[in-house]
């Protein structure tokens, strides 16, 4: 709980922070990401030098006016014309690429955006506060539970006390009225008496209660194994929204066996290191998380950075767990069926935390998804989609000699009436070609 909440706050602040800068420096931001971000960072030397207030730096260094724009367009020309540019060109390990297509205004926009970036750990950074807020929130929430319990106890005590008083009053009233007082009666016997008196209503009431209990019990039993909203804690607070959303990294870059294998594959640490060798986080909270990748990869980021060889795999908690007797193949759905990841996993570009089993109500909100009713990751959910998904000619494989073309051809040539039955609703669905059969998923 703690982890999820803190992630949430952290992520929310992060997004707000980005959103703020985006509106003012949209062009610079976009250009920086498109052209520069693979080598440069605002506040840190990486493959290229840091770019924060680089114009001032050049001016202070005695560079000629406009020389920096020439440099960006083609560094060799600049180095030939300007001695300061000449010294910059000795930067190792690599020489800069040429960007002749960038206009002066665009370059300025980039620099403006870079200069507007706050330094990590500076006052502008709110991650520390975010973390504190998160802790408070957690404490508050957990204490909420206790308050209810205490309140409950108080109420029960009050009810009992009032009941006792009422009983005494009742006895007293009876005595006063001169009625026979059945002193020896316990609460239970009293209740029995009362129930017998009102047996018609009590009978009907009990029946209703029993039926309600049974119905509730069965409804409860039906939810066993339904894991909507399942969201285990994770060793690393991985924000999907930043990777897939803000940075627009394709799902297949990290989950790269999704088109080849039955399992989509978690990114192996070496895949993380492709980017994180450079990106070690702007805020302490980020750095803390990214440091875990370094631990796993055995990467020592000090100085130029080097691999120590001491690796330890990251132990994630699996989110989408299918039972052992279910065979599910990602490549079948993604490559052959052309199903978008969103259909089952929701919009990960907006997922601030690592991952959770998205409830079907959330999935249905996403544009382009086939709307379904059964809970996510249940068999009903699977076959509901199999009953909807179309695999008519051309809807999946468009090649002339494609697999499904042959299947359609066989139907058309040999059993037109069956084919006609299938096409009554205007499409051939997965289930009509056997997608509801047991041995498609269970063997």
């Amino acid at each position: 709980m703690f982890r999820n909440l803190s992630n949430w706050c952290f992520g929310a602040l992060f997004v707000m922070f980005f959103a703020g800068t985006f509106t003012t420096n949209a062009q610079g931001d976009a250009l920086f990401k498109a052209k520069c971000a693979s080598c440069h960072q605002p506040h840190k030397n990486s493959t290229g030098p840091k770019l924060f207030q680089v114009r001032t730096k050049w001016a202070d260094g005695g560079a000629a006016e406009g020389s920096i724009y020439q440099w960006v367009n083609n560094w060799q020309t600049a180095a030939a014309n300007d001695p300061y540019a000449q010294t910059v060109s000795t930067w190792s390990p690599t020489a800069m690429s040429a960007f002749p297509e960038l206009k002066k205004e665009e370059i300025d926009a980039i620099f403006d955006w870079v200069d507007s970036q706050p330094e990590p750990g500076s006052e502008g950074d709110t991650a520390g506060a975010g973390a504190a807020t998160a802790t408070d929130a957690v404490e508050e929430e957990s204490s909420m539970g206790w308050i209810w319990i205490i309140l409950g106890i108080i109420f029960v005590t009050i009810i009992l006390a009032v009941g006792g008083v009422r009983r005494q009053l009742h006895i007293a009233a009876s005595e006063a009225a001169g009625e026979e007082v059945q002193e020896g009666l316990t609460y239970g016997e009293e209740l029995k008496q009362w129930a017998w008196k009102n047996r018609k209503y009590v009978g009907i009431g009990s029946l209703v209660v029993v039926i309600c209990v049974i119905v509730t019990l069965f409804l409860g039993l039906y939810t066993i194994g339904v894991v909507e909203n399942y969201q285990p804690s994770q060793p690393i607070a991985f924000p999907h929204d930043i990777h897939a959303g803000v940075n627009g990294i394709d799902c297949k870059y990290c989950h790269n066996s999704v088109t080849k294998s039955k399992s989509a594959g978690l990114p192996t640490v070496n895949v993380c290191m492709n980017c994180h060798k450079q990106i070690n986080g702007r805020t302490p909270a980020q750095q803390e998380q990214i440091a875990k990748i370094y631990d796993a990869a055995g990467w020592n980021p000090e100085g130029a950075g080097k691999y120590t060889g001491k690796t330890s795999p990251i132990v994630w908690n699996k989110v989408h767990v299918l039972p052992d007797h279910v065979y599910f193949n990602h490549s079948q759905h993604v490559v052959v069926g052309g199903v978008d990841c969103k259909q089952c996993h929701g919009d990960m570009t907006k997922m601030k935390e690592t991952a959770k089993v998205q409830p079907v109500s959330e999935l249905n909100k996403i544009e382009g998804n086939i709307p379904l009713t059964k809970p996510t990751l249940t068999m009903g959910w699977c076959i509901e989609c199999h009953g909807e998904k179309e695999i008519s000619t051309g809807s999946i494989d468009t090649k002339n000699d494609g697999y499904y073309n042959e299947i359609h051809k066989r139907l058309l040539n040999n059993d037109k009436s069956l084919y006609g039955k299938y096409l009554k609703d205007g499409k051939v669905t997965v289930s009509e070609l056997g997608g509801w059969e047991c041995a498609k998923c269970h063997y």
Binding site: S261, T311, P313, V335, V336, D415, C438, H442, Y443
Partner: protein, 1088 residues
């Protein structure tokens, strides 16, 4: 006509047990009163109310527990190996050699674990041929009885200590002796030479001696060839070129020499639709796999084998002084053989399974007269395997027993204490050796007595190279990092020769050394590849390379030396009143895999017995001697003891038709671990509720008895037949066989066979008549109509639309080897259930191979002769014909199992598959009752966890579980299971096609059984694809469906077995049936 049918021999004979059981509908061992009256029961304190409380609590607890799903971990690689894709198999080409079997193989790994082995059909001379032992060897990798580290004097030690001690001992040794199985690895041979040099061996001194010793020796062939042709070689046999094959006691399809190659080559010529079909004669003492496939089979005693060869020689015009007297029956078959051999000079092969030099010289003479050398047999491209030096080994054993052995003796890949006739004495004397070293995977009979054990890697963990034939070199690559602290034998040799350092689990010592060998010798001898890197990559990828044979300028022409023949009459095997044959079973072999539960549970191809060793005897002889010839769940077999020399073994006597009179057969490879050696729990007898049966001394009781001590030395070579005596012993022994009936009782709707003559006439009605029933037509006449037109159900929409997965099994090609069964077990996680369960008919094999013997009342299996009578048809003939018939779920389109399932757990797919949803199954077993093929299997127990199966089920330990195929569910107790047609492979094959955007074609899908079949008898594919092999095969005139008259419309077809023989009586029947219109069978059907 009145007929009486019996349910079994018991009923026919009206035995007292039968009469008793007949009157009781429900067998009950104990009445309810007895059960409740049991005093012990009263002592138990669970009252009914308590029981209900417990029940309620456990239901509630289970419900609550089920609410919380356990957290599953997902651990990605830190640095993913390039060729590993989680969820997808990776295949490696490798080579299998264990000293007995050789094959080019493909190993399937999942997430780094080897889980399945199949033959490599693209590369190597074995052409995809493997045997059950090779397929099952993958289970041996995960054997928890394997040694996990070096041992010194029975205690765990470290490599450095052991190496130092061994090196020190060798330095001061007077002589170092290395005893190994035949070494065919060029690199290992070089390493051994390095070791010899390091101990100071040189010309003129005998500081080092290397003895090659095989458990089963073929030294006689080498010696005979040396005498006949001047070269001590084993020729290369080309069975694919042999139109006539005469085998005298050689089981070349299952155990003899390179049987993996021969079975595949033989299979290519057993198809009657091919260019020609070979004619196979077998003269043998006990019914072997080869004999069961022979077109003609003669029964001879081992001592008469020379007579057969001499008789054939005489027929070919060569007279010898070897006696040639034969019985009338055998002589008639030998005459046929002579006729066939004469017709195919240069296109025939004559072989003998004897290890006797004189017998083999006779064989050489026959082949020489026929001009087979250079055509079907090649002396130049000779086989490098089986170089057993029997003479040298015997001298060595005598020296050890006499206390005169060298100071250091190294045993590598060999277990003479178990396999040598004098093994027991050797075992006791090993401790007298100053320093004895064993390179072994287990602390077996030999290793456990040695001062040092240096554990060898499993074959799937090591780099190896091989030179099985003169022109053939192969590489074996590891498919997994060593699981334990073991080291390849090559590395051990090099370390002791001071040529390398011990390098632990990630050692590259063996790899570097082999690569260097190939770079120095292999690469320069070819011209195709310009750089070594490409050459080496090709060699590893293909697993083997063919070399050009070096052309020797003035090589002597290999002509037969007549002097050899004149001496052949001396030294022939001597006969006796009872001759005992020591043979290898296709599953157990020489005893290397005794502890492999898959192989122990594999029914023997002929006897169908599992988990046991027995004496085979002809049932007709057994009757004379008063032995029981029938057995079942309750009634076992009688015991007898066989004595050869001073050794005696007591085993049950099994009635095996086709066993030559006055002979008995006993399999080698049993009785292992007799002194409690830890070779694996499955090698020992198990008790009814788990645990091994204990001997009096507390050691576990081994399965069967070791008959290697019966092996004698004749003229310097081991002889695998002996003269002995048999005495009945009191007692009945329970036998677990998967098939206890012998014949098919003339039911031609199950098995159909014909002869090549009849088949080639092309009249389908003669050999494969359509099954007709009578139907009323509009005029009220009875019209014969094919059975397919009668239907109770609506047709399933599977024909011609979508896919329809089908299978054909060619009974002509099927040799009954059992590869399919083991491959299926490996692919589909089929549980091992043990002897007691098999005995109760609860074996779990999804695929079984039915073996049918012909009776005297049948002219061929599944036919009836004129005097057919059911009361005698149940008894197999003395020397019967045999049919092997693989039987698995037929995926009936009108499946009777589906209609009776109350919970729709088994349903039909629109691709023709009979699906089984385990999670739905509630275990009523109605489906199994309703299955006409009896192929459904019920999980009576939770085999992977119940204590009864601890010893035998590999899934019961963490290591053994690693062999499980992750794509197939492990079934739990109480559910039904059966052949799925390898639906996981169908789905994978379809997916490949879908991803590539093309229709499914042949080759996208092969079931495990089809994959493993060495003779390509099994064809699978999409029947709806008009161009597919399966469609052509199913539409063939030889195709029929078993029990077609039941009307279940199966998706499995069998193809009529065609024998290349003359069978006048069968010809008469099959021609009469055809031309005479209505035979007996049709008359019978009209009563329906």
């Amino acid at each position: 006509m009145t007929r009486k049918y019996w349910k079994g021999l018991d009923e026919l004979k009206e035995t007292p047990e039968f009469l008793k059981s007949r009157d009781q509908e429900f067998l009950s061992e104990m009445s309810v009163e007895e059960f409740l009256g049991d005093e012990n029961l009263k002592e138990t304190s669970t009252a009914r109310r308590d029981f209900l409380k417990f029940l309620g609590f456990s239901v509630a607890a289970a419900t609550v527990a089920a609410c919380e799903a356990p957290v599953t971990k997902a651990i990605p690689y830190v640095n993913k190996p390039e060729d590993v894709l989680p969820g997808m198999p990776t295949w490696y080409a490798s080579t299998f050699y264990d000293g007995v079997s050789y094959a080019s193989i493909l190993v399937k790994t999942r997430e780094g674990r080897p889980i399945y082995i199949k033959g490599n059909k693209d590369y190597g001379f074995t052409s995809g041929g493997v045997n059950p032992q090779i397929i099952a060897s993958v289970l041996g990798l995960y054997d928890s009885a394997r040694l996990t580290g070096p041992m010194a004097k029975g205690d765990e030690s470290s490599w450095s200590k052991v190496d130092d001690a061994i090196k020190g001992a060798m330095k001061s040794a007077n002589k170092v002796t290395l005893v190994s199985n035949t070494v065919i690895s060029p690199s290992m041979q070089m390493a051994i030479a390095e070791l010899a040099a390091s101990v100071g061996a040189a010309e003129g001194n005998d500081k080092f001696e290397h003895i090659q010793y095989d458990a089963v020796s073929y030294a006689g062939i080498r010696q005979a060839n040396e005498a006949s042709f001047g070269a001590a070689v084993i020729p290369d046999y080309h069975f694919e070129n042999a139109k006539t094959i005469v085998s005298v006691g050689a089981d070349f399809l299952s155990s003899w020499l390179l049987s993996t190659e021969y079975a595949t080559a033989y299979g290519t010529r057993r198809n009657p639709d091919g260019e020609w079909m070979s004619k196979h004669f077998q003269f043998e003492s006990m019914m072997s796999v080869s004999g069961s496939n022979a077109d003609y089979r003669g029964m001879v005693k081992p001592s008469e084998e020379a007579n057969v060869l001499s008789y054939i020689l005489k027929g070919l015009g060569v007279s010898t002084n070897v006696p040639n007297a034969l019985s009338k029956e055998v002589a008639a078959i030998a005459d046929e053989a002579i006729k066939a051999l004469k017709a195919h000079k240069g296109e025939s092969i004559v072989i003998s399974g004897s290890n006797n030099k004189s017998v083999q010289i006779l064989v050489n003479k026959i082949n020489s007269v026929l001009g087979n050398y250079g055509k079907t047999m090649d002396l130049k491209n000779s086989v490098n395997m089986f170089k057993s030096e029997d003479d040298k080994m015997n001298k060595f054993v005598d020296a050890v027993i006499g206390g005169k052995a060298s100071d250091v003796v190294i045993f590598m890949g060999t277990n003479p204490v178990y396999t040598h006739p004098k093994g027991k004495a050797l075992g006791e004397a090993i401790t007298k050796i100053k320093t004895s070293v064993a390179i072994s995977t287990h602390a077996d009979e030999t290793a456990s007595r040695c001062s040092f054990i240096c554990p060898d890697n499993h074959a799937l963990e090591s780099w190896t190279d091989h030179n099985p034939k003169m022109n053939h070199y192969a590489v074996g690559q590891p498919t997994i990092r060593p699981l334990f602290n073991t080291s390849s034998s090559l590395e051990s040799m090099l370390v002791w020769a001071n040529k390398a350092d011990r390098s632990g689990k990630d050692s590259k010592v063996a790899y570097d050394y082999i690569k260097k060998t190939w770079e120095t010798y292999g690469f320069p001898s070819q011209t195709k590849y310009a750089d070594f890197h490409t050459y080496w990559n090709m060699a590893v990828h293909n697993s083997c390379v063919e070399m050009d044979m070096p052309v020797v300028e003035d090589a002597a022409p290999m002509t037969f030396n007549e002097a050899a023949l004149s001496g052949a009459s001396s030294g022939l095997p001597k006969g006796g009143a009872l001759e005992v044959i020591m043979y290898q079973k296709s599953a157990i072999g020489t005893g290397l895999y005794t502890a492999n539960p898959w192989l122990q549970e594999m029914p023997d191809p002929l006897t169908k017995v599992t988990w046991d060793n027995y004496i085979t005897m002809n049932p007709s002889e057994m009757k004379e001697m008063g032995f029981a010839t029938t057995f079942d769940q309750e009634n076992g077999l009688n015991m007898a003891s066989v004595k050869v020399g001073s050794t005696e073994v007591t085993l049950p006597v099994y009635p095996l038709p086709g066993q030559a009179p006055k002979t008995v057969g006993i399999a080698l490879g049993y009785g292992r671990g007799a002194n409690g050696e830890n070779i694996g729990k499955a090698a020992f007898q198990t008790k009814e509720y788990g645990g091994n049966v204990q001997l009096e001394n507390g050691n576990p009781a081994p399965i069967g008895a070791n008959v290697y001590p019966f092996v004698s030395v004749e003229n310097g070579t081991f002889s695998y037949s002996a003269v002995g005596g048999l005495t009945p012993v009191d007692g009945v022994y329970p036998i677990a066989a998967t098939q206890i009936h012998h014949t098919v009782m003339g039911r031609h709707s199950i098995v159909r066979e014909t002869t090549l003559d009849i088949y080639s006439k092309g009249e389908k009605e003669a050999y494969n008549p359509a099954h007709m029933l009578l139907k009323l037509d509009a005029e009220g006449n009875h019209v014969p109509t094919p059975v397919g037109e009668f239907d109770l159900w609506d047709a399933h929409p599977v024909e011609n639309i979508g896919h329809r997965w089908g299978m054909t099994i060619d009974l002509s090609s099927c040799i009954g080897c059992g590869n399919c069964l083991i491959a299926c077990q490996s692919e589909n996680n089929v549980p091992v259930v043990g002897k007691d369960e098999v005995r109760r008919g609860r074996e779990m094999h999804w695929l079984r191979i039915d073996r049918y013997f012909a009776s005297d009342d049948e002219t061929a299996v599944g036919t009836r002769n004129e005097n057919f009578a059911f009361d005698t048809a149940e008894v197999a003939a003395v020397n019967p014909k045999v049919v092997h018939m693989p039987m698995m779920c037929h995926h009936c389109n009108h499946a009777p199992c589906e209609t009776v399932c109350p919970v729709a757990a088994t349903t039909h797919s629109n691709e023709g598959l009979n699906q089984m949803a385990y999670n739905r199954c509630i275990g009523t077993r109605y489906c199994a009752n309703n299955c006409p093929y009896k192929v459904r299997r019920f999980n009576w127990f939770n085999y992977p966890s119940y204590k009864k199966f601890t010893e035998i089920n590999p899934a019961q330990d963490d290591l053994g579980r690693m062999v499980l195929n992750p794509d197939v569910t492990v079934r739990t107790r109480g559910v039904m299971e059966k052949c799925s047609f390898c639906v996981q492979r169908i789905q994978a094959g379809k997916l490949t096609a879908k991803k590539e955007g093309r229709p499914v074609v042949d080759g996208d899908f092969a079931s495990a059984c089809a994959d493993a079949c060495p003779t390509n008898a099994i064809t699978v594919g999409d029947w709806n694809d008009l161009t597919s092999m399966i469609r052509k095969s199913a539409d063939d005139s030889r195709s029929y469906q078993a029990l077609e008259e039941v009307g279940v419309k199966p998706n499995v077809w069998f193809k009529v077995k065609v024998r290349n023989e003359h069978n006048a009586e069968l010809a008469k029947i099959q021609t009469v049936a055809h031309h005479g219109g209505h035979g007996e069978e049709k008359e019978t059907e009209s009563h329906h």
